[in-house]
Amino acid sequence: MNTAAKKKNSRFPGNIANGKLAPYLIMVLPLFTAYIVLTVLPTLTTVFFSFTDFDGMSITDFHFMGGKNYKVAAIDPSFWISLKNTVIYAVAVTLIQNFFGLLLAVGLCKKMKSANVLRTLLFTPAIISTIVISYAFTYIYDTNGLVNMILDFLHLGQFKKTWLGEPNLALVCVAISNIWRFLGYSAVIFIANMQSISADLTEAASIDGAGGFQRFRYITFPLLAPSVTINLTLSFIGCLKVFDTVYTMTNGGPGNHSEVVGTYILKLQGQNLNGYACAVAVILTLIIIGLNLITFPYLKKREDI
């Protein structure tokens, strides 16, 4: 009886199919193996190399140097400039892009015949390659480019510049192109969130005499917390990883005024300073993880109001 009951019990689906290990292991292993070999192990190896003077050529010929690469990084002014640039760039782009993205979303949420078409147009840059956008903006900023043409047209010729060649403006110009590219993306995420907010709430508030801005500030905005979290997190991580735009528009120049950590690592790698490049990559990774550990719980908490 007892064994029969057990037998019957074991015919319960949860125990038959789901209880086995082998089939599930076979399902997960193709991806997991690829992921371990091509992501996890390389990351760990990068950490390992960061304590050596690996030159990228010969795996047998490198020496342990302890934390020397990290000590070098601590006093390497080029690294500090790239780090400072990366963090300022990430904070500024994240805030500006999402501020204007939110404004656009508010505008596009009004009942309009053209709302869908406008949304499609606004989102277009997000499906265009960064390289194409970088080159289009390289032209826009060129000595004979669009910005200078417009300045000429407005008789403001004295402000003409080679925009990407200006030490203080190069990174700002890169940032603008990036903000432009993802503005629509942020807006679309905000719009989706707004459309899920019940109209009853805002209507009730307006009956109580709340003005447009008040309704937004006290009703809509707090309810947008989920999309605020996701937008800020996505753009912040993306910006800290920035590489393509800077590499193709300025490659860190002029001098190293627009250098970011992403491009700096590649320069070090190009000079065969692979060990040091690994140390810088480890620092970048830790910073990305660290900053997100700080900001994410705070943003998440806002959602639970």
Binding site: T43, L118, I127
Partner: protein, 277 residues
């Protein structure tokens, strides 16, 4: 009421103008690409007087368009298709496996860690690995990188989706003696259609537009993707903007046509995971 309506129209016109202004750089790329060398210098802002399609002919030849397009298509489709199948399998196993939960949970956490890793954190070991295995400039080499690279986000999306799929069907199939693989391929896989569309869209757009991976692992002439072709092209024709812009259009147009054909699906797909509907 009428005043309100007029205000509504005015606002709509304002929004249309604003969006067109923001869209202008995209239009600019197209306008520039057909301008003559002369017009480029004299009146770059105006609508082109003469359409100089030779720009395209030139860009077409210099970029070796068909080869580059074929390479992009091959790499994108193979990585996306193979990737999607194994993402779904892995995601399914992680959610549904009952025994050894710890093991699968650990795998899940490891996958999610990939969301924050910058490409540079794996670069140097991978370069060495690929050089020593002879995987540099090979289709399988770069496709494997894309499949592994898309794993984190795809697993994040697919596990979220499978969690919402009711388990009753699977249990019924198991009662009828269906194996785990049978259940997955005959019952679950068809149910995953919405998330599969999302995965295909996100991964295909990312891979098609990617620059970093081919720059590092596929820079040889034969395997050049369309994005790499543009990059090489820019190096040679720095100042001939009209020809360069023709190249930019050639690199963008395929993806753009897909986008305008499937606009709503593309937008929903690419913002999936960000927006819970």
């Amino acid at each position: 009421m009428k005043v309100k309506k007029i205000r509504g129209y005015c606002f709509e016109i304002f929004m249309i103008l604003l969006v067109l202004l923001l869209f202008y750089p995209v239009i600019l790329i197209f306008l520039m690409s057909v301008k003559s060398d002369m017009e480029m210098i004299v009146s770059p802002l105006s609508f082109p007087q003469v359409f100089q399609f030779e720009n395209y002919k030139y860009a077409f030849e210099q970029m070796d368009f068909f080869r580059a397009f074929g390479n992009s298509l091959l790499i994108t489709s193979s990585s996306t298709i193979i990737g999607t199948v194994i993402y779904c399998m892995a995601g399914y196993a992680i959610v549904r496996a009952k025994s050894h939960r710890r093991l699968f949970q650990t795998m899940y956490v490891l996958f999610l860690l990939g969301l924050v890793l910058p490409a540079q954190s794996t670069l140097i070991p991978l370069l060495y690995l690929y050089k020593s295995l002879g995987l540099m400039n090979t289709y399988r080499g770069i496709s494997l990188l894309y499949i592994a690279g898309g794993a984190a986000f795809s697993i994040f999306l697919i596990t979220g989706f499978i969690n919402t799929v009711p388990i009753a069907l699977e249990e019924a199939a198991a009662l009828d003696g269906c194996t785990a693989f049978g259940i997955f391929f005959k019952i679950v896989f068809p149910l995953l259609k919405p998330i599969i569309c999302t995965l295909v869209i996100i991964n295909a757009v990312n891979i098609w537009n990617d620059f970093f991976t081919p720059l590092m692992f596929m820079s040889g002439k034969a395997g050049r993707t369309i994005i790499m072709a543009v990059y090489m092209f820019k190096g040679q024709y720095q100042t001939q903007w009209n020809v360069l812009f023709a190249g930019l259009v050639l690199a963008t147009l395929p993806m753009m046509l897909v986008y305008f054909a499937l606009q709503r699906y593309m937008i929903d797909g690419m913002t999936a995971g960000a927006v819970k509907s």
